[in-house]
């Protein structure tokens, strides 16, 4: 790599030629405050929080977009620099709704941290204060424009990474606002509810709809039998909320904490992920054998489903009819489990702990109530669970070892890897290869590395006997768009396609712990959390869905076989085309 010599705060050093001043400073362990900057996602130099003095330049320059060059002399903390940053920050704060005490992002807010770091003691400008209405009509996302600092990170995420463009910068000057078109609610536009905008927002302007009260109430209600089920990605991220390193596995602590919160049972959504593989694998084999609609596209990511309903209705028949795992699980709990335990299904209250905001929307779809009751009563994100744990005063890092409850607490390794991009594909391959190939595959060959990793679109040809299965995996809706456009244009052909709405898959879902821009500059959350997922898979003795004893039991005692009538009734669903901007007011 070509290097250049620069001087930064009187220190001489060599840095790669393609660095920005910000990167060079960080490399030299010199902190420069930033606000709008988010590596690879929003590098637009808009907020001017990061200004530095460059020798020879007429004005202060934004470090996050200024490239280094040979002989560059930089001063990151001259009086002019410090004053300019303070003015910038005070101007932002002057019309900010500064109610940190009751703000969901307090202590994890980049603006609050800046105010502390820049030693702001007084705000010299009297900003015009105005109160804009809160958009809380969406079941998943709350948008509070009074806390928005106009950094545009969410806009870049939604438009460039997700390819949705549900929000943008509108109006100008003092009235500038980041919002959906025509001031509509996020609930009335093609927002997928993926929550990726929340994860990149530096402040409390975007957040999930908090449903913790509903769960507290259910837990207090003696008539209800309250069951928690947890998605695979939660157990590799929840620890971050309690200061543990990114990628720490906290399965046992999570279960123990849920017990202390008072849930009657704590089950593993992985069991249902395994069930999904049985149903979806069967669907795939049937479609291949009987000339059904191909490619079969996975359906466990509700953000993706909503995206497809809005933007690619021509692919709705390609979608697997399988419900997403937690919805399947809810339906099983309110039918099979209720019967087996002799509990009135009306009294079963299912809480899904998910890395996902889109599942809040999904849970209230009217068609997802096969038993006559909603499959799932409340969806909590990883962050909301952390809030409940804190509120209950549970010392999360210091809990006894606990395991999921039987009989639905056994998930296989295949179920666990659902949490990362490529995981559903790999889990399906582990089962389909064995069924189609007619012979067991051993532990060494059940890891399909070609579908793992963070590459946007991954392709694989997998030999199963004399059949070659062509597969593709896309994560992040922008990548999904690219892949679908290629399929549509006839440029690519597959049997099986996995799509997850969130970049990196559920491990980086819109309900996961939020890491600040600075951490995201160094650490790829998708990789670290996925690594923990694959470790968890390797730690389990059962790693194929069809070998999961709970799944075997479900089929022998209740469903008969995958794809049976009963299975269709409870585990499958259908989709509807959605108009993008309906005009009837």
């Amino acid at each position: 790599m070509e290097m250049v010599n620069i001087t930064i705060d009187n220190r001489k050093l060599q840095v790669p030629k393609d660095y920005t001043v910000l990167e060079a400073a960080r490399y030299a362990n010199i902190a420069i405050p930033t606000l709008c900057f988010l590596k690879d996602i929003n590098e637009i130099g808009a907020c001017r929080m990061c200004v530095v003095e460059i020798k020879g330049a007429r004005s202060l320059q934004a470090a996050c977009v200024y490239p280094v060059s040979e002989g560059l002399v930089i001063n990151t903390k001259s009086p002019a620099v410090r004053e300019a940053r303070k003015v910038t920050l005070e101007l932002i704060l002057s019309n900010h709704d500064r109610k940190c005490l009751t703000c969901v992002r307090s202590r994890n807010c980049e603006l609050q941290k800046l105010a502390e770091e820049l030693n702001i003691k007084d705000i010299r400008f009297e900003g015009e204060t105005y109160k804009l209405p809160l958009d809380n009509f969406s079941p998943s996302i709350v948008r509070d424009p009074n806390k928005c600092v106009l950094c545009r990170r969410c806009v870049s995420m939604c438009k460039n990474i997700q390819g949705v463009a549900a929000i943008d910068t509108n109006e100008r000057g003092f009235k500038t606002i980041v919002s959906p078109a025509f001031n509509k609610s996020l609930n009335e536009v093609p927002c997928t509810m993926c929550g990726q905008c929340i994860n990149v927002c530096p402040v409390g302007a975007l957040r999930e709809k908090d449903d913790t009260d509903k769960v507290w109430q259910a837990l207090e209600n003696p008539d209800l039998y309250v069951i928690a089920q947890t998605a695979p990605a939660v157990r590799v991220a929840l620890g971050e909320e309690f200061g543990m390193p990114i990628g720490t596995r906290v399965t046992s602590n999570m279960i123990a904490a849920l017990r202390r919160l008072g849930f009657n049972k704590v089950f593993d959504t992985d069991t249902a992920a395994d069930l999904t593989i049985m149903e979806e694998g069967t669907e795939l084999i049937n479609r291949i054998k009987n000339g059904g609609k191909l490619p079969l596209i996975t359906s466990c990511s509700p953000g993706w489903i909503k995206f497809c309903e809005h933007n690619y209705p021509e692919f709705l028949d390609n979608l697997s009819t399988c419900k997403s795992p937690h919805q399947m699980f809810g339906a099983v709990l309110k039918s099979y489990y209720a019967e087996k335990m002799g509990i009135d299904p009306a009294k079963i209250f299912v809480v899904s702990i998910m890395p996902c905001t889109a599942k809040k929307f999904e849970a209230q779809r009217p068609e997802l109530s096969s038993t006559g009751y909603p499959d799932v009563d409340v969806v909590l994100t990883t962050r909301e669970l952390a809030r409940m744990i804190r509120e209950a005063g549970i010392d999360f890092t210091n809990l006894p070892e606990r395991y999921f409850d039987d009989p639905m607490g056994k998930g296989s390794g295949a179920g666990v890897i659902f949490g990362a991009t490529g995981g559903v594909m790999e889990a399906a391959l582990r089962t389909v290869a064995e069924i189609l190939g007619g012979k067991p595959i051993d532990d060494d060959s059940l890891e399909y590395n070609e579908v793992r990793g963070v590459k946007g679109i991954k392709e694989a040809s997998i030999k199963i006997g004399d059949f070659t299965l062509k597969a593709a995996v896309a994560h992040g809706l922008g990548n999904a768009r690219r892949l679908l456009d290629r399929i549509k244009a006839g440029e690519a052909e597959y049997h099986f396609v996995e799509i997850m709405a969130c970049p990196g898959g559920c491990v980086n879902g819109g309900g996961q712990p939020i890491q600040p821009s600075e951490v995201r500059s160094w650490i790829d959350l998708r990789r670290e959390r996925a690594a923990a997922i694959y470790e968890e898979d390797r730690s389990l003795s059962i790693r194929k869905s069809h070998e999961n004893p709970a799944v075997k039991m479900l089929y022998s005692e209740y469903f008969g076989e995958p794809g049976s009538h009963k299975a269709h009734e409870l585990l499958h669903t259908h989709y509807t085309k959605r108009e993008n901007y309906p005009e009837n007011k």
Binding site: K159, N170, A181, Y581
Partner: protein, 164 residues
Amino acid sequence: MEANNCCCGCVDEKAQKLQEIIEKYKNTKGALIPVLHEAQELYGYLPLSVQKKISEELDIPLTEIYGVVTFYTQFTLKPKGRYNIQLCMGTACYVKGAEKILEKLQEKLGIHVGDCTEDGKFSIEACRCIGACGLAPVMMINDEVYGRLTPDQIEGILDKYKDM
């Protein structure tokens, strides 16, 4: 389309014309601004239905188009009536009771400032100082200037346009 029940009533030919405008610019770079411009000339404003059509045809997200429309003051989201009333809200007019005039206009026409009557005849706009402070409070109906207004004159003035 929403524009079907727009102020001026007549739309289907307009849809045709909009299509032509879009076709004209479709494959040129930076097509959006000229298309919006001509579309506004055609419709008098840029409602959701028009922006949606442009969004679909040019393959630009609606949010982006809306951002452009609300950024530039030359574009408007609301229709104008055949008689557009611009009421000056500059300091001089304001001090001399422009607000009372506005109240009266709103009451008589049954619409709010920024809106257009159902029959497409009148719309009310509040504008900045038009440089006729000597006549404050002042309003313009299309090109006609009315000065030293009092609320009780309003009815008579509006009546002049009733049968036009």
